[in-house]
């Protein structure tokens, strides 16, 4: 069973004789955050509706990115996100707390984005969402044994950010959606599975394919490498 990253750290800590204090703190921070959320939801449902902003603020980014992972268009993603936020507001009293609020919210966003895509691209919808065959894992990564680590400082460069965004955008929708929720938004495998309405096994299979494909897109290649030039990190071979 997969858990979110914070929770799995707590589970790991439970398996060792001397708990790591950092892990225990991470677990207790998560627990207190969830408790704060639970109390906020109770108060909003009791009539303090202006607290809805406070509840939503940590998830504004996640809401937009989840919608955009499906629609791949900022304007459409904003519209779907607005509609999803409205639905979350109207139906907040239906949230039972058996999943995390963030998972429930992202599930609404995903559904809303999918509905919007179906409505506006009916003629394209047939085959792009779900594969007809289960060949999701049949992907051979490029044989690039000379991977040089791309340091996080390189993200300051527009060029690298653009290359990464392009690599993600070029993934087939089923892979992109899993990758965005799991790796960009760092949802757990279980949460990603619930949000997308697919099994955890499918999440894992699609994630493997997506990760390898994005890595290949950013790989330097036999004749290229990431190197410092003029104080900037550059990919020697243009992509």
């Amino acid at each position: 069973m997969s858990e979110n990253r914070e929770s799995s750290e707590v589970l790991t800590a439970a398996n060792v004789s001397a708990p790591n204090p950092d892990i225990t703190i991470a677990g207790s921070e998560l627990a207190s955050k969830l408790e704060r959320e639970r109390k906020l939801i109770v108060r909003i449902c009791a009539g303090e509706k202006d607290l809805f902003y406070e509840l939503m603020r940590p998830y504004e980014r996640a809401v937009f990115l989840a919608a955009n992972s499906i629609l791949q268009n900022e304007h459409d993603a904003e519209e779907a996100a607005q509609e999803a936020v409205l639905k979350a507001f109207i139906h907040l009293d239906r949230f039972r707390g058996d999943a995390r609020f963030s998972t429930w919210l992202i599930q609404i966003v995903i559904n809303e984005a999918r509905m919007k895509r179906r409505k506006e691209r009916k003629h394209l919808y047939d085959s792009i969402d779900e594969p007809k065959t289960d060949d999701e894992s049949d992907y051979k990564p490029q044989d690039l044994a000379d991977w040089r680590e791309i340091p996080s400082e390189a993200l300051q460069q527009q060029e690298l950010r653009e290359a990464l965004r392009k690599a993600i955008a070029s993934l087939a929708p089923i892979y992109r959606q899993v990758f965005m929720l799991r790796d960009v938004q760092q949802m757990s495998i279980a949460e990603t599975s619930v949000a997308l309405g697919i099994t955890e096994a499918s999440v894992k299979t699609r994630l493997l394919r997506a990760r390898l494909q994005v890595r290949d897109s950013l790989a330097p290649g036999y004749d290229g490498r990431w190197a410092i030039g003029d104080g900037h990190w550059n990919k020697v071979r243009p992509w």
Binding site: F64, E78, Q82, E83, A145, E149, S152, I189, L208, R211
Partner: protein, 83 residues
């Protein structure tokens, strides 16, 4: 052939689960033994971990300007008195 040996194909098939800590302990040990001696698989592991670290960085995706206020537009329209 050592029954504990594992092929590159099998390692790559599980590399994502390995990163997520989702492989059983016995398989994990076999993968680690393989990775210790296989530059190819190790490079794929390093590259994949590197990509995961990069995309988790909040700088990758910038949000449209003013999104935070527009996000609640429909809520405000629906519930003008409360919000």
């Amino acid at each position: 052939m050592n029954p504990n040996n594992i092929r590159c194909e099998d390692v790559l098939q599980e590399i994502s689960n390995y990163i997520d800590g989702e492989v059983p302990p016995e398989l994990r040990v076999r993968m680690e033994n393989h990775l210790a001696g296989c530059a190819h698989c190790h490079a794929i592991l390093d590259g994949t971990k590197n990509i995961i670290a990069l995309v988790a960085d909040g700088r990758l995706f910038e949000l449209p300007l003013g999104l935070a206020s527009r996000l609640y537009r429909k809520v405000r329209e629906t519930d003008n008195d409360s919000l």
